[in-house]
Structures are given as structure tokens and as C-alpha cells.
Symmetry: C2
Subunit: 341 residues, 2 copies
């Protein structure tokens, strides 16, 4: 049996782009009548069977959005899903969620499964392991085949697609500026390892805020946490042995652990040590003291990602494809874990 002909092979054979082949087989007016006829004749001659991705692309009517997330234990992703579903439902789309559990393989498998006719496009936040490996072939593949992808939060710079991010560095600067403005000087940073794009950007914002205010960055006050599951012990050890008057934590779990560590030292929050978190979820709101936080506006991120994806699914094919990166501005939510000005 002859191996199955792919869009890519037709493209190579006829010296045109995959997207031209894909569009020609869909009878797009973007492609000249002549080229369309040539491509269709070739496909017919070699008995080309569109694979499932191309099929779904051709018919584009599953009216379903595939969401692939690294995890959902954190409120942030739950609120993003809420935002996606609200827009999707309003515009007549369903949403299907798959979890990568931060595994590269699971992310690839989920993507393959959903690209198999179940969904029209993807909204995705990249797995930790994928960022570590820097292997993005699965994203490139679906995009090349004409399925739109919108990345959010943990994005990949080099992938050419629509993106929704927050101003991570600027958000971190806001947090640290608030600590500086309320009299703190010895500010610890609880962050993640650098290959997590958001952790890196928030660390950058922390450095910038200190530098712009003439406060020297003390490397010994920066804790980079690799094993998030056992972060509490690590944070308690770190805070117990550090001389600090404030903590900036890149998520609310680290923030809650910081409060516990500070109280454990016999100090008061915020009188002795202020604490500010990032990602403003239920834990921040319900905690005692309620945590001052940088709100990432997850619902807004989700809503914008859904609008971008559905717009692209419904845009006339003639339109030139230009991608945009939308930045959702973070905001400071003052609560009881930081001092008043």
C-alpha cells in the first residue's frame, strides 16, 4: 500500500506552501483559480485523503474550543476557564478542557486527540516540561495545518500565533513599589525557577523596582523554588533564617506559606513583615489576614483569548493573517497583609 500523502508532501511536490495547499483544497479565493485546479488535480491523482485535522479545518463546524492547561488546582486557571466559557457560550461554541499535568507528552497527546476533529482551535498555556524542553513541534504542526491557536500566560515567544498575556514584569514592579512606598526595604522574593516564563518576568520586575528606587538587590533574599509541592518547608526555612521586612511571592500559595513562616517566628503581619502575593484567588481573599495581591484578571484573559480564537475561526479566509499579542493589565488589590501608607 502506498503511504498516505500529506498536505506537506503535496506542498513540497508542487513547490507551494502547506497553507496554499490547504486553502486550495478548501477552494479559497485567496489562491488563484489556476493554482487551485493544479493542486486539486494533483490531490485527486494521488488519491489524497485529508487527515482529520484538515477535515475538521475544511468543515470547521465542531464549534468547539479545545483548552489545554498545565493544571487546575490553582484558582487562576479556573477563572481563565470561566472567562473562556462565557465568551464561547455567548458566541455559540462549546469548550473542552484537557490537562497536561505539566507533562510534555500529555500536552502533545491531548493536542493530537483534540485536533482529531473534536475541536476547531486551541487555547493553551504551555506545560512546565514543554518550556523546559523548548520543544514546540506540536504547536507548530497544528498551526501549519490551519488550526488557530491562542497562547496565554505561559506563552512561547517564537511561536507565531495570537497571545494573551499579563504585564508580568510590570505587575511585579507594582507589587514591589507598594512595599517600598509603605516603608519596606528588605524585601524577599519567593519565585519559581527561571524556565517558567512568568516566574522569570516577575523576578525581572522585582529587580527593576528595587533598582529604580535605589535599593540594592540582595541575591540572598531571592528564593527560587523548584519543587512547588514541598514549597512550604522551603519557605519556612528561608524566612526563619532571613532578616526581612517584606515578602513578594509570585503566587498566592507561596504568600500564604510566607505568612505562616513569619507568624511562626513570632512576628506580626503586616506590622513587622508585609506580604504581597500574585494571582488573586480564593486563598488570598479568605486568608486571615487577607492577602494584598496582584490581580491577574484570569476571567479577562480567558475572555480575550476566546474572542481572538473565535474571530480567527470566523474571519473570511482572504484576510491576511497577522497575529496580535494582547496584554491584560494587572492591578494591585490592597488588603490586610501589607502596611498602609
Amino acid at each position: 500500500m502506498r503511504p498516505k500523502l500529506t498536505l506537506k508532501q503535496i506542498a513540497r511536490e508542487l513547490d507551494v506552501s502547506v497553507s496554499t495547499v490547504s486553502k486550495a483544497l478548501r477552494d479559497s479565493v485567496e489562491i488563484s483559480q489556476e493554482t487551485r485546479q493544479k493542486i486539486k488535480a494533483f490531490a485527486k491523482l494521488y488519491n489524497y485523503k485529508p487527515n482529520n485535522i484538515a477535515l475538521s479545518l475544511k468543515n470547521r463546524k465542531s464549534k468547539t474550543i479545545g483548552i489545554i492547561l498545565p493544571e487546575i488546582v490553582h484558582d487562576f486557571f479556573a477563572t481563565v476557564i470561566g472567562g473562556i466559557e462565557e465568551v464561547a457560550n455567548k458566541r455559540g461554541y462549546n469548550a473542552i478542557i484537557c490537562l497536561s499535568n505539566n507533562s510534555f507528552d500529555r500536552e502533545v497527546m491531548n493536542m493530537e486527540m483534540l485536533a482529531n476533529g473534536s475541536t476547531d482551535g486551541f487555547i493553551l498555556s504551555v506545560a512546565k516540561e514543554t518550556q523546559q524542553k523548548e520543544d514546540y513541534h506540536h504547536l507548530k504542526e497544528v498551526i501549519n495545518q490551519g488550526m488557530p491557536v491562542v497562547l496565554f500566560d505561559r506563552i512561547v515567544e517564537e511561536i507565531n500565533c495570537d497571545k494573551v498575556i499579563i504585564d508580568d514584569a510590570a505587575g511585579a514592579k507594582k507589587a514591589v513599589q507598594h512595599l517600598l512606598d509603605t516603608g519596606c526595604r528588605k524585601i524577599a522574593l519567593l519565585t519559581t525557577v527561571d524556565y517558567i516564563s512568568v516566574g522569570k518576568l516577575r523576578t525581572q520586575g522585582y529587580r527593576e523596582a528595587l533598582e529604580q528606587n535605589g535599593v540594592a538587590v540582595q541575591e540572598e533574599l531571592i528564593l527560587k523554588i523548584e519543587d512547588v509541592d514541598h514549597s512550604e518547608e522551603e519557605i519556612i526555612d528561608f524566612i526563619t533564617s532571613s532578616d526581612i521586612d517584606a515578602v513578594f511571592a509570585v503566587n498566592e500559595q507561596f504568600g500564604a506559606s510566607a505568612v505562616k513562616a513569619i507568624l511562626g517566628k513570632g512576628l506580626k503581619v503586616p506590622e513587622d513583615v508585609s506580604v504581597i502575593g500574585f494571582s488573586d484567588g480564593e486563598l488570598s481573599k479568605r486568608f486571615i489576614p487577607a492577602l494584598t495581591s496582584i490581580n491577574q484578571h484570569g476571567a479577562e484573559i480567558g475572555a480575550r483569548a476566546a474572542e481572538l480564537l473565535i474571530d480567527r475561526l470566523e474571519q473570511p479566509l482572504e484576510k491576511e493573517e497577522t497575529y496580535q499579542t494582547q496584554i491584560v493589565e494587572t492591578s494591585l488589590v490592597k488588603r490586610d497583609s501589607t502596611r498602609k501608607k
Copy 2:
């Protein structure tokens, strides 16, 4: 055009059950050779096209489990998903998650979408609105068509399928017994409205524990919360105006709000008022004081549901279908919000 013939119509026409028709068309040896031939001939005569559900059932090879949940903001459902995925992945299955957001319509739509060839079977916790309406036609329909369903947590008694539940009433009794054993007598109950099956069962356990210990149930100490989104204000009002020495909350969010209300009255937890929660998530663990809780073992529930579903998908069709209800036992996790004995 003649309307499409369904499995149900063939069954009615030939005076056999839907499952017999379904099995005959799948060539099950459970059905006699003669009946199989008759049914297949009839189906062929009337040009019967299996619909997507039947098709997926016939081929049973999406190797994907559909999970439909009321919400995911709570840790409980996140841990259940974790348990399902672990077993599913080990046994070569993927999982797809859809959210009903507690809406009946969305639950029905999600089910229709996923039954459309994307999944082999369902693991489902019923939406609040579905329990209120008591309309379960969508569940009955997929089960009748041969797609297995496993219900968990918010189950429906009258639906004949596999179920995984916790001993809600017994769990609640454990919680209240612990409060009684540590010297509490004026125990408030923060629960949900009665049409939520788990809220009802936990309320029943609360009553039983008190009665068995010779403590009269005081109706004015029971708060039934309808609007969970604004529960905190309601809980604060209730606790501020009640004379109590303990609180049993049917979830951890209510538990956290109770602590806030008690501290707001100038009282101490647990010295003046003990607090015990249900559903042992991140909030309970990270809260200060850490909340004593009834652990629902969400991962165990998910794992058992996945085992039941995959066993049913892979069992030889000859086997008589008998359904089981597995009960996962809750356990008391003592932390800092209740007094020591």
C-alpha cells in the same frame, strides 16, 4: 425523505429491548443467532444508519473518558480529576473535561457533544440545577444507548449505573462526634439547601450525631445557604448573632468564613469556638489556624470511578450488567481549629 430510524424504533417495531437491538447489531453472542439475523435484516431493510453514539459504541475506540463536572473552583473536583487521570493514563485512556457550571442545559449539551464519538463513556457529577429539576433524560438516554456512565459525589439514586460516593452522613457524624468528644455542645451547622444531595446527607449526619449523644437539635443553629457566592456575609451575620461553641461546615469555604466571623466577634479558635470543615483542600491545609476537616479522598473517588468505567468498557459483552455503588470512607483530619480531647 423518510425520517431516520433509531435503535429505539427498531426495538419497538420488533418488540425487543434497545439493548438487544444494540447488541444484535454488534453481533453479541448474548443474543441468539436467530434474533440477531432478524434484527440485522430489519435494520438493513430500513437502511438503518447507526447514529454517532451507536457508532462509537460499536467501535469503542476513542479510548477517551468524558468527565462532566458542575465546577472546578473547588479543590475537591480538581483532586477527583487527578485520580481519574492517573488511572485512565495507566490504562491507556485520555480524559476530556467539560463543565456544566451547574446549569442543566450545559450539562445536556456537553453530554451530547461528547457522546458524539469523542468519548467511550462518562464520569459525571450532576449539576445543581439538574438535581433541582429532577430531569435526568440525558443520562438515561446515553445509558440506554450503551454508553457506560459512572456517577460520583452528586449522584442520582434512580439512575441505574455504577456510582462512587462517600459516606456523607457518616462523615458528618464523625465531624460532629469529634466536636462533642472535645466538649462542644452548642454546635452550629453551615450547610447547603436540601436539593443538593450531599448537603442533605451531611445535615442528616449532623442530626443523628446530636440525637445519639442526647443533645437536642436546635433548628436555629442550622444555616442553609442558597447563594454560595455571597455565603461569607450570611455566615458572619449568623455567627455574630448566635450563641455557639462549635461550627460544623459542609465545605472548607464555609469553614474559613466561620473562623473569620468568630475572630471578628473577638473570640478565639479553637479555645472559644471550634470549627470543623468538610472537603479537605488547599484552603484547609494552608489556613491559619489550619482547619480540622473531613477528608473526602477525592483522588480515591476519581480513581475508583475510572476503574469502574474502564472495566465496563472492556468487559466481555456477554456478562450480565449489574451495577455497583462503591462507598469511599471519609476520614477525620485533626488540625488546629478544634480543641484537643
